[in-house]
Structures are given as structure tokens and as C-alpha cells.
Amino acid sequence: MNKLRFRVPLVIMVFGLWAILVLPITTPKLIIGVVLSVIFLIIPFPGAEVYGDLKFSFKKVAYFIAYIFYFLWAVVKSNLDVAFRVLSPQLPINPGIVKVKTKLKSSLGRLVLANSITLTPGTITVDIENEFLYIHWINIDTENQELATGKIVQGFEKYLEVIFG
């Protein structure tokens, strides 16, 4: 029964998605959502333990909202950068795969970090091995692993470290 606790954050998220989907919310819809969420809570399925890393606190919620805005800004900035590279006649790219190190411990935090890196144009997470991420970078401008870590990872890490630990 201890495992049931791990699934609570997941069920809350599923219920939140349901609520967004059926807005404006009425009593029958609310009842259906609650019933479905409880079924989700009882049926066991593999992989749900990952969500046990989540712990609620107001500081984390505040950091999560700040992270969303930081992330959107990073996406817009790097989109413009890649757009410039695509349009410029010399095609100024220097691609390769770099290895960077992350401080994040929880697997969910690493998942969100890898997905954020992949979503920002110019970088794709190719592989992940414990605390090292292998990232395809469209324009390598440093030979140093620490500098590459600072440029790609640390901006996101600052927020994710507080949210996921």
C-alpha cells in the first residue's frame, strides 16, 4: 500500500488535465473526473514510482511558474538564433556531440531537463547516462566541458534543482 502514495501527484495531474479539457466544469463532469482519478489511483501500472519524487510546497510552485517563463524565453531566443543560422548564406554551424554534467538527482528532474534541452532549438539530447547528458549542439563554441555545461544546462538547472531536487 506504500506504493499508492507515489501515484497521488500523478492522479492530481491527470485530474488537472481532465479539468482543463472539460471546462466549463459542471457537477456531472466533476463526478466523472473524480471517479476516473480514483480508478487511476487503484489500478497499478509500471513507471508510476517516478512521480513519487514530487513533493508539494509553495516555493516549488513559484519556481515552477518562473521556470515556465524562463523556458519560453529561452525557446524564443534560440529559435531566433537558429532562424538566423538557417537564413545566413555561409550557414555558420559547427555541429557535434558534447558531454555535459548535471547536478540533478531525481530521475523526473533529469527527464524534464533533457526534454527542455531538446525543446530549445540548437540542442538535442541524444543520450543520457546517469549524471551525464550527451547533447548534439548545432554550434560548438567551446572545448571545455564546464563551459559547455554552463551554457546549456545551468540556466534550467537553477530552477529545476529547487523544483525536483
Binding site: 479539457l21 529559435n79 557535434g96 525543446l119 541524444v126
Partner: protein, 116 residues
């Protein structure tokens, strides 16, 4: 007025999608095509959905859900493609002059492991 703002937002989104397709044609190898092709579409489609939200405010929650869906699925698919390509043995390094030597950390590590 709202129509004009929404049209501009949708137009900018379409512009990003156009840039993605130009990138697909211009980039030299698979990984860089993915950089241009899969990512510019993120911002492009999000801007288009944002335009829809401005135009049709009643259904904002559905469009928001679509944006969240794109945010979750897009990185997974591009990561899977890149990983599969790398294990197929496609070389990410280009033959071209540059000050900083391009490198492939993943490949060199796997090779040294295989040799030892």
C-alpha cells in the same frame, strides 16, 4: 482590432514553420535537419495556437491542452530519432574549416569502452 493582432501572431507562427522547411533544405546532415525541422515547429505551432486563442477565446482550454501536448511529445520523438540515428552510426561531424575542432563525445567514449 483583435482580428489584426491574432492574424499577426498566426502569421509569425507560419513564418517560423516556413523557416523550418527552409532549414530542412539547407542543412547538411540528418542531425542539423532535425534541429531545424523539429524545433522551429514548436514555436511555430504554439504561436498559431496562441492566435487561435486570441481569435476564439471561449475554447482557450482546448488550445492550451494542445500546446501542453506538443510540449510533451515533441522532445520525445526528436530524442528518439537522434538516438536511433546515432546508434545507426551516422556521423554528426562535418568536414569543414573551423577554429574549434568539432567532436563527438558519445562516440569516442563508446569506442574506448569497446576496446578495453
Amino acid at each position: 482590432m483583435i482580428d489584426i493582432i491574432a492574424s499577426v501572431v498566426i502569421l509569425v507562427g507560419a513564418l517560423f514553420l516556413l523557416l523550418a522547411s527552409i532549414g530542412l533544405l539547407r542543412m547538411p546532415d540528418l542531425y542539423n535537419r532535425m534541429q531545424a525541422g523539429t524545433k522551429a515547429t514548436t514555436l511555430g505551432s504554439i504561436l498559431i495556437f496562441l492566435g487561435f486563442i486570441i481569435l476564439n477565446g471561449d475554447n482557450w482550454s482546448k488550445y492550451l491542452l494542445l500546446i501542453i501536448f506538443i510540449f510533451f511529445t515533441n522532445p520525445l520523438s526528436s530524442h528518439a530519432l537522434a538516438r536511433a540515428a546515432h546508434f545507426m552510426g551516422i556521423n554528426p561531424i562535418l568536414d569543414r574549416e573551423s577554429e574549434i575542432s568539432p567532436r563527438d563525445d558519445l562516440k569516442t567514449e563508446k569506442d574506448t569502452e569497446a576496446e578495453s
